[in-house]
């Protein structure tokens, strides 16, 4: 079954209370953040806390990612060594600009895996693309290693470098977001949309999530628990969609058995792409437990 990555909820690794509270919002993934959310002086203590938490707490079916500090900083490599040892199997690589960045992490991961008797390749990577250069290299990044399971877009640094304002219409992000979705699709990995930082504006957030879904993203990075529920509502197939997809799959199965070529469901022609879309919806619905 497809792994759901509708929501990736950030949680600062320096806040132990949040380690055990964040799972109650049931995001698909939690990203424990060692990078931006942690003050320079607390980098080591936050890492220690996180390693202990990962060893002790049961996150059940929530996928755990850790956003490490970039490998070019003094903390990046130690982050990787310690958290992999503690049991983390998904790493978010920030400020990823080239395939080389991914390969560098891959080499380090392979070394750490070997040192700790972990299957080589067990640790997966999500590449955070946050710069114009990264966007243009998105496909190379997404295909740089079989470890890459998703690429995510970060609009804050992207707009800063472009020298434009981040607006609520997100027009300034249109090309980058579309391109990342395309690259992810070609590489067969998930595409995760950027965060919405105005946590008080839930209506604006919902509009952006709706757009992300239409564009083809698999999910969204979230910075507040209240956002999780809204993303799930939008990214989970509706009862109507599920029922229609089931009818399509049923009709296709019947047609195949009877050797009929072209069929129609609800008055509309059903061909292979339609069947595949229906199958994707059913797979999502099962993963989201709205269909057993």
């Amino acid at each position: 079954m497809k792994k759901l990555r509708r929501t990736m909820l950030f949680c600062p690794a320096s806040e132990p209370k949040m380690f055990y509270n964040t799972p109650v919002y049931h995001p698909d993934c939690i990203i424990f953040d060692l990078e931006d959310a942690v003050a320079y002086a607390e980098k080591d203590s936050a890492r220690d806390l996180l390693c202990e938490a990962v060893k002790t707490l049961d996150f059940k079916d929530i996928e755990i990612f850790v956003r490490i500090n970039p490998l070019y900083t003094a903390f990046g490599e130690t982050d990787v060594r310690e958290i992999v040892k503690a049991g983390v199997r998904n790493i978010r690589l920030p400020m990823c600009e080239t395939a080389e960045d991914v390969k560098k992490l891959e080499a380090l991961l392979t070394e750490v895996e070997k040192e700790n008797n972990i299957d080589v390749g067990a640790v997966k990577v999500q590449c955070a693309i946050e710069t114009p250069k990264g966007v243009l290299n998105a496909l190379a990044i997404a295909t740089a290693s079989p470890r890459v399971v998703s690429i995510s877009f970060g609009a804050e640094d992207y707009t800063r470098i472009l020298g434009v304002d981040r607006t609520k219409t997100a027009k300034e992000l249109a090309y980058a977001r579309s391109y990342i979705v395309l690259a992810a699709s070609v590489a067969n990995v998930d595409a995760i949309d950027t965060v919405w930082s105005d946590v008080s504006d839930i209506e604006g957030f919902k509009a952006e999530v709706q757009e992300a879904k239409i564009m083809g993203f698999s999910g969204k990075s979230c910075v507040h628990p209240a956002q999780v529920k809204e993303v799930h509502k939008i990214f989970t197939p509706s009862q109507e969609e599920v029922e229609k997809s089931l009818r399509i799959i049923e009709a296709a199965k019947e047609a195949e058995e009877k050797g009929i070529g072209v069929i129609t469901v609800d008055g509309k022609m059903v061909d292979v792409p339609v069947i595949q879309k229906a199958e994707r919806i059913i797979s999502l619905a099962k993963a989201a437990k709205v269909l057993k």
């Binding site: 509270n21 109650v24 919002y25 507040h224 628990p225 209240a226």
Partner: protein, 517 residues
Amino acid sequence: MEFVKNKAGRMVPTYIEGIGELKPFNGIFDAEVAGRRHGAINSKVVPTDQKLLGSIREAIEKTGLKDGMTVSFHHHLRNGDYVLMMVMDEIANMGIKDITICSSSLTNAHEGLIEHIKSGVVTGLHTSGLRGNIAKEITTNCILPKPVIFRTHGGRARAIESGEVKIDVAFIAASCCDEMGNMNGKLGKSAFGAMGYPMVDAQYADKVVAITDNLVPYPAYPISIPQYLVDYVVVVEEIGDPSLISAGATRVTQNPLELLIAEYASEVLIQSGLVKEGFSFQAGSGGASLAVAKFLRDYMKENNIVGSFASGGATSYLVELLEEGLFRTLLDTQTFDAKAATSFMRNENHVEMSASMYANPHNKGCVANKLDIMILSATEVDVHYNVNVMTASTGVIMGAQGGHPDTAAGAKLTVVVAPLMRKRIPIVVDEVTTVVTPGETVDVVVTERGIAVNPKNAELLQTLKKTNLPVMTIEELKNLAENFTGKPEKVTFGDKIVGIIEYRDGTVMDVIRNVVK
């Protein structure tokens, strides 16, 4: 001291020196009720008499207050109240001792009482709750010679009406009053809203003194407490700071954890089938509890449901529901914030009620008993569904009974909302430190990680099990909490009883003992 086990399973004394005979709690509606109400004394006021006096001291002198008497106050101004301390300071200056204070509650505004207790001016306290330093001094340093009697809001009205508590002088802060004593809390710079508590005191106290910072031409209107119950009127510069009313207990939450709990709770209410045309609702103070109204609102709108009444403890949340036409009436015994005070001033469907009408179990029918749904907070809940809202896990007093036991007993569905842990301390425990609300009156406990249904509600349990809600047993909830926190250390209590938890019917639910440092 002789102890017996009451129906809540707690060992309670049958007699305490200075307090008298005590009856153990014997079931929520099982206390025997007999006798008549306490009678008010006859008075004579002739046309030339002046009620308006020059000072609080003069009023104290005229009332004949002396050593050993009981004075009463209300806490409608909560943390912003000035009147209780003004009066008690004057009583102390006059050299009067051995006074019992019967206040509807005590807040952080009353910390000055510590000195009056230590000097023997105050020797007895009857209140709904205690917080801050007074509470600490009483629990750990045992500064009060007799235990504090904690009463519910309904229980206080009952005790006064039955004559169990005889108030010698009631001092009543009013934000609007005339020279004859007609008064309200609705108008004036210090307006605080409904006057539910002193409406009872004024009827049964031997002497009644109105204290106001807004003397208006006769007759003051509307009249919450009428002139024929009032002996004297005193004007002071300020009765309090109404901006401090909403501090603390009635904050509006943005905390995502509390919002999640509230969302689960509202789903429980919807699933119970009680949220339907004409239903009634109340939510106690506390972030998650108040936020339930927010989630209920969306459901009521979507389904065109209009409730009959909401009651309280009127907060801005309930006022919004009233203003949007989602409830026909808001019955208000105590107004909790500025928005609710404004609503009370302007909206004729926002109706004042006395504490007796609200929750007295021994009158001819109270509003609490008409409730369909009650949402309550908790400091601790145990595996028997008993709730503590009075003592912290350290054993120190830090809360108030309020209308908690009254509404839990009265409502068809009582839902307790609480986080599973607070600061690494489990909230669901084997046994609560102090029983305030008995488990038999609690139907559901909702936390952010799980929902437990009291097994007495088999039907509701089956309904909820069919939903996606995280339903589990109360023991599973407790274990879940302990998985994170470990088993909490037991508090070391001394053998001195510092507080009596009186149930709404006057029986003893539990006692609070001193904490040994």
